[in-house]
């Protein structure tokens, strides 16, 4: 009895010391003779697409690199928590990937290096779409991040219902009908009446808010001043009106009801970006019990506003000791025409390079959309995207606006003044330095 405790404890201590000894030895060794390569380019990402790109495209086309590439993938929710405390120190990664939602935060942080200092990358940036460059450019006009994809959004709607309830045959007609928000609302009412309230125009508030935000004159913050555009009031009113009159399902974004609506004939349309079509709408078009499928019954129209949603930007950190190599990776993944063409053909992604998109956009036909060429439709919208209203505050302020104003107001829980005030207070709490009148 006495013995056993002693032996157990001693054994555990030895193991502990051994484990610690090992790990420190390993890390020292790993730096020296990991594949006999001196340098490591560390890429931090929240999406595993980058691993595919590096392993299947970059490495095969660059067989004799004198450095290793280590990709660290962290889920989006924790990505910023992991990156922020370490950015600017020696342990910071060499390449950072940024989601459209929070890209501006890092672009404005001063921690990313000017991409135009690398001559070949600088030349290749010319063919990148303007809005993509604009998101990656900081207040001083220096571009520090670039993306491989463009993610314009559109309105996807059910073709059979459009024919049945609205007598609309083609996406062009549809576009004429819903090209303004008034038209959008009128259409929603028509559908509601024709279907006896069975069918809702949209799934919920995000089908309105994303396109709406892009039609603002000014972003959330201009010169450190919180701006609440007239459009914002319009959005609140429209959301409330549609909710009260039963024109939207009012499903929380990406909730069960949201995804079910794609197959159960309760929702007429969704506002979705390029990737939303491939990864949300397509897989969910068949209901979970396989009893109903809406495949091939969708069409897309531009909708009342052009907007973009999401996308992945890449930048090189100032602290990186392998800047050239890191810039080379960014150059290849975000500007190389051959790679981007291959990527677009393999994945159906709308890429950020104008020349490539113009070259391939004619050849697509999407069966899911009844043969419509979604690629061309998306491509034609990219030039009218205005990214000047994207600010580093967007991620936080969009969430706060949804929670404190848009959702409660659209449900009729609070008055308009209170909704705006609540939002201002929430913004004040999140950013004490902002000027809010």
């Amino acid at each position: 009895m006495k013995r056993r405790w002693g032996i157990l404890l001693t054994a555990s201590m030895v193991t502990l010391l051994a484990a610690c000894g090992n790990s420190s030895e390993e890390s020292a060794n790993g730096k020296e003779n990991g594949n006999d390569k001196e340098k490591t380019v560390e890429i931090w990402s929240f999406t595993d697409e980058i691993s595919t790109m590096i392993n299947d495209y970059y490495l095969p086309s660059h067989p004799d690199l004198d450095y290793k590439i280590n990709v660290v993938t962290t889920p989006t929710e924790q990505f910023e928590a992991k990156l922020d405390p370490i950015l600017g120190s020696k342990d910071a990664p060499d390449v950072v990937l940024m989601e459209g939602n929070f890209a501006k935060k890092y672009v404005e942080s001063g921690m990313l290096t000017d991409l135009n200092q690398f001559s070949s990358l600088s030349e290749n940036l010319e063919n990148t779409y303007d809005y993509v460059k604009e998101v990656g450019t900081n207040k001083d006009g220096v571009q520090v991040a670039n993306a491989w994809q463009a993610a314009p959004g559109a309105f996807f709607y059910r073709d059979s219902f459009a024919k049945e309830y609205l007598g609309i045959e083609t996406p062009e007609e549809m576009q004429e009908t819903i090209s303004t928000w008034d038209g959008f609302y009128e259409t929603a009412k028509k559908i509601d009446e024709a279907s006896n309230g069975e069918l809702d125009m949209i799934s919920g508030i995000e089908d309105l808010s994303f396109p709406f935000y892009s039609t603002r004159e000014k972003g959330w913050v201009v010169d450190n001043q919180l701006e609440i555009d007239n459009n914002i009031t319009e959005l609140l009113e429209l959301a409330k009106k549609m909710n009260e009159e039963g024109l939207m399902l009012d499903a929380p974004p990406q909730s069960e009801a949201y995804f079910s609506g794609m197959s159960n004939n309760k929702v007429f349309g969704y506002s979705l970006p390029t990737w939303g079509l491939h990864f949300w709408l397509k897989p969910n078009a068949e209901s979970s019990d396989a009893s109903n499928s809406t495949e091939g019954d969708w069409k897309m129209a531009k909708g009342p506003a052009t907007y973009f949603r999401g996308g992945t930007w890449m930048g090189v950190t100032e602290t990186s000791d392998t800047k050239e190599a890191a810039a080379d990776i960014v150059e290849y993944l975000t500007t190389d025409p051959e790679f981007l063409k291959q990527w677009a053909e393999d994945t159906g992604d709308v890429v950020s390079n104008r020349t490539v998109v113009d070259e391939i956009k004619g050849g697509f036909s999407e069966e899911f959309l009844g043969g419509q060429n979604h690629y061309e439709q998306f491509a034609d919208q990219i030039d009218s995207i205005d990214a000047s209203i994207v600010t580093e505050y967007d991620q936080t302020l969009n969430t706060l606006f949804n929670d404190s104003a848009l959702i409660p107001y659209s449900k009729g829980e609070i008055k308009l003044d209170q909704a705006i005030d609540d939002f201002k207070n929430a913004a004040k709490n999140a950013y004490p330095d902002l000027e809010i009148d």
């Binding site: 405790w5 502990l16 989006t76 370490i86 120190s89 069960e256 995804f259 197959s263 068949e286 979970s288």
Partner: protein, 280 residues
């Protein structure tokens, strides 16, 4: 007479029904996790179901072909959890014994300080700890995940409460008469006395270390050192499509060891909790 019996019977029925509902509520989340492990991502997105789906094989394949080795995750998690549990138990018991058996100046103050630490939420110190470890060059090692387990104020508190109920000064004194040193007394007499308390706290600290996600995620960047929860989270890094089915399957796999530990040691837990709660 008869009436009394009837009332007692009814009361018992009510109590059974009430506890039945409680049991059901405790089991249902686990059941949903297990069932979801066999359903497809779309099915999970579109609603809850208590029935198993037919997607088990697909989920398993996704889990196995994601480019990581789930069994190395098991090993890593197990190393971290077991070592930090051993450290927590040994040093907390030592502290508790010191605070119970000896009289010295500033004892109350020291104990209050230890108690005060319980009040600090771990999230507060996280960013600072992370930067501190980065400056020490300890990122990517298990040391920051294991060594801090030595200081576990809540375990000290529990152990002290427990020890006060079972400790008798006479035992230690007679051991001293026989010429045993202080450490020997602790190892040979006090530790065996503490067994039920050790089992309870052991389970708690093992489970919390096993489920610890944020700290390892922040500190570790090499995939072969990832712990089990970190590997599960990698399934969420497909930006557009989360394989929820495989995630649930992974979660099921990671709770299996915990369920086994609970089943084997539940006797001790209940004994330990009730013993720790009573102050003699």
């Amino acid at each position: 007479m008869k009436n009394d019996k009837l009332i007692a019977k009814r009361q018992r029925m009510l109590i059974y029904i009430f506890f039945g509902i409680l049991t059901f509520l405790s089991i249902i989340p686990f059941w949903i996790v297990l069932a979801n492990g066999t359903r497809s991502s779309e099915q999970i997105q579109q609603g809850i179901s208590l029935f198993a789906g037919s997607n088990l094989k697909y989920n398993w394949d996704v889990l196995m072909n994601k480019g990581f080795d789930i069994f190395s995750g098991y090993t890593n998690s197990f190393i971290i959890a077991s070592l930090s549990t051993i450290l927590t138990l040994y040093f907390s018991s030592l502290t508790a014994y010191g605070l119970t058996a000896y009289k010295f100046k500033g004892k109350t103050f020291m104990f209050s300080m230890i108690m005060f630490l319980i009040l600090i939420p771990p999230q507060v110190s996280m960013v600072g700890f992370y930067q501190f470890m980065s400056k020490l060059g300890l990122l990517n090692s298990y040391i920051p995940l294991i060594l801090p387990a030595i200081a576990a104020p809540s375990t000290v508190f529990f152990m002290k409460q427990y020890l006060e109920t079972v400790y008798q000064k006479e035992i230690a004194d007679s051991a001293r008469m026989d010429g045993a040193g202080e450490f020997k007394i602790f190892h040979t007499i006090i530790l065996p006395l503490l067994k039920p308390g050790l089992a309870t706290m052991g389970i708690f600290s093992f489970v919390s270390s096993w489920n610890n996600f944020l700290m390892p995620l922040v500190l570790i960047n090499e995939q072969d050192k990832y712990t089990l929860p970190m590997l599960m989270q990698l399934l969420k890094t497909d930006t557009y499509r989360t394989e929820y089915g495989s995630m649930y399957l992974g979660i099921s796999l990671s709770i299996v060891p915990l369920l086994l530990i609970y089943l084997l040691l539940s006797r001790y837990i209940i004994g330990g909790v009730s013993a720790g709660g009573v102050k003699g």
